[in-house]
Amino acid sequence: MYTEKVMDHFSNPRNVGEIENADGVGEVGNASCGDIMKIFLKVEDNIIKDVKFKTFGCGAAIATSSMVTEMAIGKTLDEAMELTNAAVADALDGLPANKMHCSNLAADALHEAIKNYKEKQGAG
């Protein structure tokens, strides 16, 4: 049911963990299944230098979390805002139809983290 790439990211997830004093933090819950994902950002000169994640979710949720962190590192904040759940799913060679909603978690959490960063900047 899962592609090799999904299983690879699931069994060896990249960038698991937290960043202390992160520049931005995003947390989202999945309305359809109740799963949760949290993303931490380190930003320099508008560029995402480091990303870490924590996820309570299914295989697809963990794999998309891992994938989205790889895809976000090195991107500008604007580029990262453009990352869609479909792009993350594609990068994993696709997800089963009933697991497409899981990829929303990853993209949404990333976007929330960027918004959080911008709010902090605005406030600061």
Partner: protein, 383 residues
């Protein structure tokens, strides 16, 4: 370790089936020799099934699966007894074959009471009794729960059903072959069996219909099964079910004791080795082979995938409901916290399960749990 989902076909059962695929291809409803040969085999299987549950052969109707049996029990009763009433009492933790059928019946003029369960998955008999009205035509309560293994007090329910002259159906798909099942002692009127849970093939089942209980068929057509279920018989499957029932009846209690010892070892091992786990289901009134555990902070599917990579099968919620995204309705009914429901994992042992299997799980489980917890935003140990 997922024998509540399905069991392997016993080799001797397959052997018994093969002649009915090779030589004896007659239709048991035909008058000629090819047919008569086969109808004898079907009748022998009927006796074998009947013997396991202390019924008479004429009270056994063959079906294609447990779900069909449950549908027939409910819809066939509602249709047959519609002049008497339209109220059904069931429980919140039944299999979807019962619950979704009830939901359908509610749309068609029935009233259904879903008895709640306590934290251990048990119903309250006083509540059951209080729910009975003049319109009640059926109580449907499963013998053993597929997710938690909790065993309902079938005999006591049967006594209440008798007292109020209400028909009693039990989905015994998980109980048959694991516990002694006696339709007379239990006082049930309808009892459903599924082949693939007891070493027979998928695609065959049976329902016990107490003599005299009027039923309207679910499948109308030819005169098979004394007009209670039309359609050409799955002859080989029926022969297999018969033998599987006979085999299940041999050494039933020793086998159950062996599985219980293994299950208890697994349970103890997990509780000792892994902090923050919760065993779901009744501590003592439980199927001897079933263990349901929630590993806090971990989502069930990710745990299953890790097991899968190590060659261990288990399930989270029931396999039959895996198409849905809802956390298990059984955990919900037991009031299990939603995150713990998500992490509930069922291990169910079967005839092939060994001490080594248990040891292996106890060995691989702690590092998997530790790794997944580290990944979890919910895990306080990470802070």
């Amino acid at each position: 370790m997922d024998y509540n989902a399905t069991t392997p076909l016993r080799p001797e059962v397959l052997e018994a089936m093969l002649p009915f695929y090779r030589e004896h291809f007659g239709n048991p409803s035909s008058v000629h020799w090819a047919g008569r040969m086969v109808s004898g085999a079907v009748e022998k299987a009927r006796e074998q099934v009947a013997r396991l549950i202390n019924a008479s052969p004429a009270e056994i109707v063959f079906t294609s699966c447990g779900s069909e049996g449950d549908n027939l029990a409910l819809k066939g009763t509602v249709e047959a007894l519609k002049d008497k009433g339209n109220h059904i009492i069931t429980t919140a933790v039944e299999h979807p074959a019962v619950l979704n059928t009830c939901e359908f019946l509610e749309k068609n003029g029935c009233e259904v009471t879903y008895l709640p369960v306590d934290a251990e998955g048990m119903i309250d008999l006083a509540q059951l009794e209080a729910a009975i009205t003049e319109k009640t035509i059926l109580i449907s309560a499963m013998w053993g729960n597929n997710e938690t293994g909790t065993i309902f007090p079938i005999k006591e329910i049967g006594a209440i059903a008798r007292k109020y002259k209400v028909r009693f159906h039990t989905d015994a798909v998980q109980a048959v072959g694991k516990l002694p099942v006696d339709v007379q002692k239990a006082g049930v009127d309808l009892l459903v069996i599924s082949g693939h849970k007891i070493g027979a093939p998928k695609g065959v089942g049976a329902i016990y219909i107490r003599r005299g209980a009027r039923m309207v068929p679910l499948i109308h057509g030819g005169h098979q099964e004394r007009n209670r279920r039309a359609g050409t018989h799955n002859v080989a499957g029926i022969v297999g079910l018969g033998l599987a029932c006979e085999l299940a009846g041999r050494h039933l209690e020793e086998n159950a004791a062996r599985l219980k010892a293994l299950r208890d070892k697994l349970e103890r091992g997990i509780v000792e080795r892994i902090p923050e786990v919760k065993v779901n289901g009744h501590p003592t009134r439980r199927l001897p082979n079933t263990l349901n555990v929630s590993f806090a902070y971990i989502e069930g599917e990710s745990l299953l995938l890790n097991f899968d990579m190590k060659g261990v099968a288990a399930s989270s919620g029931s396999a039959c409901t895996s198409g849905s995204l809802e956390p298990s309705h059984v955990m919900g009914a037991m009031g299990v916290d939603i995150a713990l429901a998500h992490s509930s994992t069922r291990f169910s042992l079967g005839p092939d399960s060994s001490e080594e299997d248990v040891d292996y799980i106890l060995e691989i489980l702690p590092p998997i749990v530790a790794r997944l917890r580290e990944m979890s935003p919910l895990y306080p140990g990470n802070k």
